[in-house]
Amino acid sequence: MKNYKILLFIILLFSVFSIVQLFSASDKKADEILKKADENLMPSSFETYRKLINEEPDGSKKEYIFYSIKKDRDKVAMLYISPASEKGRSALRLGDNMWLYIPNVGRPIRITSLQSSVGGIFSNSDIMRLDYSEEYNASILEQNDEEYVLDLKAKTSYVAYDKLKMWIKKKSIIVTKVECYAASGTLIKTLEFKEVKDFGNGIVRPAVIETTSPLYKGYRSIMIFSGIELREFPDEVFTLDFMPRLCELR
């Protein structure tokens, strides 16, 4: 009887261990898919021009053009090129840290990832996005022949959205849709990745990201990428001192 109990305990232990292994293997696979999706969205070091359009419920639009650079997984900087009222502003992101430089203010000030420096639905973290795998742990929520649906949980409390639900094409490992949720489970916004385009140098990715939010009914924000070029930068261009000098890189 005693031997029987020991055997039962060993079987139970082995089953629990196997289930844990199975889940961690699944998480590992999800993290790998996420990393690949990140690589397909953004090369490790590049420069690009982006246009951001904020559409209001009355149909009117506000447009901005940015010059943006990125290096590694956690360094992003961008320069406002137009309109004239915003020209010369620059923004910097180093991991969880974000700053905005306004020429009239004369020094960089810390900003938060949830804020929006340009109005509309895109937050600062959307505009200056790091690799998703830098900020989130992934697990596979569901999958079919066409796509994976990943469940992404924020690694730290500094991340703008606590949870993401991400749709990825199985064949190309390209992100097609992301839903952003608050800790309460409320849907904050939906990002749709459209117009897959060959930018050259092996970069094939959606050229347009469109976002809508149930919190801003009737509003729509669109980000359009143009001319993504691979380029190496010294680390010092991603510093507070260099923010007023970002225009030198163009």
Binding site: G95, V208, P234
Partner: protein, 422 residues
């Protein structure tokens, strides 16, 4: 027929959709000159406080006195920058038009810099530096032109200097960036308006560290008359929507004017000034910035009372010469925007309140904790078109008659701004 309809739909809709996602990238040349700026048209209506001695000294023997005054002016900012390879030349001008008479043009900035690499910059000329992390106050801003806390984002003039900056990023999880700035400030020409004593040259040094997720600066300043200042500041995000910041400065041999025996008197003092502040964003996209400021050079309640009595006594003398002299003294010696010791600053900002497109609303108060007087000022902004905005900006100053804000020359004002960017 079906194919024809599809073809028509394709011809009409596909090009429109493709066009929506295309834009032209502004071209960049190797060397270039660039201009920009803005014109601010400002019209103000001011309700005077005729019972205040500060009003009386300002408007002494003015015949057209009225309880309500109007002020109209045009502020013109014109900036030019020439850049070629590593050389950068910057000119920022400011001119103000009040009436048809020759306009004086002033340079807010006029400097050349040699940007040897992203790590190294050397420059000379008149440049604006902003040290410190405070939004409304910067006790450790040793090279700053003093901000007006009532409008901290106003473009201000720089200082003549020679500067050198070194910047280094570090691949580490602890110290991520380090920079060093050294600024030499030549003295103002006081001898025949051309020369200055060499020993009045001032030096300012700053080191910056990004340690984990915290910005930290250490500053040092050596000024004329053996003035020494040591300071530090910090800023960090505690959460994704909550930031804290602070500045501390210790000064030796700092000059402070007080009134003693009914005369302005320069005291030399040692001591600390500091601020502590927060910036918070709530889920309604409302931002709150709050700062507490202790100003060691500021006047205590008793010292402010002496100053108030001094102005009142001057007015009572009814002597044109004495009043003119005191008016001149006051404008040089009691000019600070933060005249007293302890202040609380709070601003609340809400973009597009009640869903009103292109509008913004903010309200701020500067509360003088030493005498319980304060200024309260809401501000409405509206940007119906790109590069054009309206601002409506009322302000109220409240407090006892012998308090700082309660004795301001103007008890109420409404400013209306139109701003054009180019």
């Amino acid at each position: 027929m079906r194919c024809y309809i599809l073809l028509v739909l394709f011809v009409f809709f596909v090009p429109v959709s493709a066009q929506e996602y295309e834009f032209e990238i502004p071209e960049e040349e190797e060397s270039r000159i660039e201009f920009n700026g803005n014109l601010d048209v400002k019209w103000a209506i001011l309700n005077t406080r005729e019972s205040s001695p500060f009003y009386e000294i300002q408007f002494y023997q003015t015949t057209d006195n009225s309880s309500y005054l109007s002020r109209y002016r045009l502020d013109h900012y014109f900036n030019a920058e020439y850049r070629r390879k590593k050389v950068d030349f910057v000119m920022k001008t400011f001119s103000q038009y009040k009436k048809d008479e020759p306009i004086s043009l002033s340079f807010h900035e006029l400097y050349g810099s040699l940007n040897l690499s992203p790590k190294l910059t050397f420059g000379i000329g008149k440049k604006r530096f902003i040290w410190g992390k405070g939004y409304a106050f910067n006790p450790a801003g040793y090279v700053n032109t003093e901000k007006d806390p009532e409008n901290p984002e106003l473009a201000l003039s720089g200082k003549s200097s020679t500067f050198f900056m070194f910047n280094k990023s570090i691949n580490s999880n602890f110290l991520k960036n380090f920079s060093f700035s050294s600024i030499i400030l030549p003295p103002e020409a006081i001898i025949n308006e051309k020369f200055a004593p060499l020993e009045d040259t001032e030096i300012a040094l700053k080191t910056y560290f990004l340690i984990k997720n915290t910005d930290i600066d250490f500053m040092f300043f050596y000024g004329k008359n053996q003035l020494r200042r040591y300071g530090f500041d910090f800023s960090t995000n505690l959460k994704e929507n909550f930031e804290i910041h602070g500045e501390w400065s210790y000064a030796q041999n700092e000059g402070k004017f007080i009134i003693q025996k009914n005369l302005p008197w320069l005291q030399k003092i040692d001591g600390s000034s500091f601020i502590f502040g927060i910036r918070y964003l709530n889920r309604f996209n409302m931002t709150v910035i709050a700062e507490y400021y202790h100003n060691n050079r500021g006047l205590s309640k008793e010292e402010f009372n002496d100053y108030y009595d001094y102005i009142e006594t001057t007015i009572k003398s009814n002597s044109f010469n004495i009043i003119s002299q005191v008016k001149q003294d006051v404008s040089r010696r009691f000019i600070s925007k933060t005249l007293m010791k302890d202040y609380l600053y709070i601003i609340v900002r809400q973009p597009e309140p009640f869903g009103w497109l292109y509008s913004s609303f903010s309200i701020f108060t500067i509360y003088n904790l030493s005498d319980n007087s304060f200024i309260l000022s809401p501000r409405f902004g509206y940007e119906p078109f790109t590069n054009f905005e309206f601002l409506l900006w009322p302000a109220l100053t409240l407090g006892e008659s012998n308090s700082e804000y309660g004795s301001r020359q103007f008890q109420k004002k409404v400013e209306f701004w139109m701003r054009f960017y180019f």
